[in-house]
Amino acid sequence: MYPGQIMPGQIWGWIIALYLFLAGMSAGAYTTAYLSQRLYPHLKVIRWSGYIVAPPLVIIGLVTLMIDAEAGFFHPWRFFFLYIGNPSSIMAIGVYILTLFTPLALYRAVVSLAEIWRDGGEKKWPLGLDRFFARPPEWLRWFVEGRGWIDFLGLVMAVATATYTALLIGNIHAVPFWNNSILPVLFVVSAFSTGIAITLFTATAWDPKVQEHYAPYLALSTSLKGLELFLLFALLYFSWYGDQAAKASTADLLWGRLALPFWILLVVLGLALPLRYELQERKHLLAGHVPALAASVPAGDKRPVDAGSLSPRLFATSQIMHLFAIVGGFVLRYLILLAGHFVYFLPTW
């Protein structure tokens, strides 16, 4: 960085980080829910949690993005040019993707509500929703019954959303720390691991008993977190031995101005701690213990425990770990944005 130069992180700050994080997490939650629906159809609460949190997350993300794009916020008709102005720009492609993903996610949330209503004994619901679910107009039947292929289309768009949020940053050649092939993979992996975290968090809050079935989810989530740590290491490693500007970014993160949040908030609290806890929880689950109670079971005691006697204190620990993982996803994006350095362009002798 030269004196007087602005940093990429000053141009794109925490709002963009928040948006990238929310859009990625929404895509991850949808994917988790879809996988649940296919692989474990009996775990309804997990599926519903994922499908229901997905649309609000991406919508909040889009709103923050519009507020950040102030010129557009004050002249909303200009957003129209996003569709016709320059279709080859990654950001425009992202707009197309989100234009498909957001309604698909909303649609699946409505289908989930209908499922919940049916499951809950078809009681009376506000806004006349019960009547709508019971007797939808003929042309809106698909809206209540759900269609497998639409869910699948939603999955494709979810994956596209996660990928695009990663490529948006990865495509910036002016910032070598962002412009490499590891960063997009890291963002996508992080999108799915935060997606799992928010889904499990919501499902646990909804019905703590589903925790008994978390083993396969934790297997996926821990693998993703492990992969994330490895990718982070690879990103820093190649950046250090790469371009001068990327080297400066690495130094900033490892021992420079961002070292404290990097080590404490991201590596320890955001990744390592939840990873360790999830590994432990998974082990207990596989051993037949109820997760939240597991820690209170004396070592060596392998008797299955009654799910009804969950200890609230330990229940809270697993929820806090999910929250840590979620916040870690935001911190990851924010730190990577802040750590960006523009290429050095001055002549050298």
Binding site: Q5, P8, F81, S89, A92, G340, F342, Y344, F345, L346
Partner: protein, 179 residues
């Protein structure tokens, strides 16, 4: 149509920043906003060392990442290869600002859209020189048509072996520096 470019001879630049100031007057910029930013670089090994002043503005790249990444088509390549911004299409996403390797764009706090050097497009259309070229006392700046082999610009580029900054980035900048 011409293909406008510029040469900046760093060996002649005194670092007086008159170009920056005349550019600010020309474009009605507040004092803290510069289209021409001055950087300094040391070179040599002790005791034979020197310090150069390096003015950097929009390089009017032939393959401008700012234009390629702009999602609304607000940034575009105008006649003469000059890179301009159509404010009425700009949503202020600042993708061009992060995409520009030369840090050429600054944000207009009033309109919330980016701005940058426009090669004094209106003057150039009338056959005049850009303001920074007119102002430069040391005659360090030469403006002209890169497609015209007879132009003063091309002559000096060849004679002085002028090079663009970081051509390896592939943006094909049209400002050539002598150093």
């Amino acid at each position: 149509m011409a293909r406008y470019g510029m040469l900046i001879d760093l060996t002649k630049c005194a670092g007086c920043m008159a170009c920056t100031v005349s550019c600010q007057l020309q474009n009605d910029l507040p004092p803290e906003v510069h289209f021409i930013k001055f950087y300094q670089q040391e070179y040599g090994t002790f005791p034979v060392v020197s310090l150069v002043n390096i003015p950097v503005q929009c390089q009017h790249c032939e393959k401008p990442p700012c234009v390629y990444n702009c999602p609304t088509g607000a940034s575009y390549i105008a006649d003469g290869g000059v890179v301009l911004l159509n404010e009425s299409k700009c949503i202020g996403c600042k993708y061009c600002m992060t995409s520009c390797p030369y840090n050429a764009r600054v944000l207009n706090e009033e309109t919330h859209t980016p701005m940058k050097c426009i090669f004094c497009f209106d003057h150039v259309k009338e056959g005049e020189q850009p303001m920074c070229v007119q102002t430069c006392l040391g005659e360090a700046r030469v403006f002209g048509d890169l497609d015209d082999p007879e132009s003063e610009l091309n002559k000096q580029i060849n004679e002085k072996k002028a090079r663009p900054l970081r051509p390896d980035l592939g943006t094909k900048p049209k400002i050539f520096y002598v150093w």
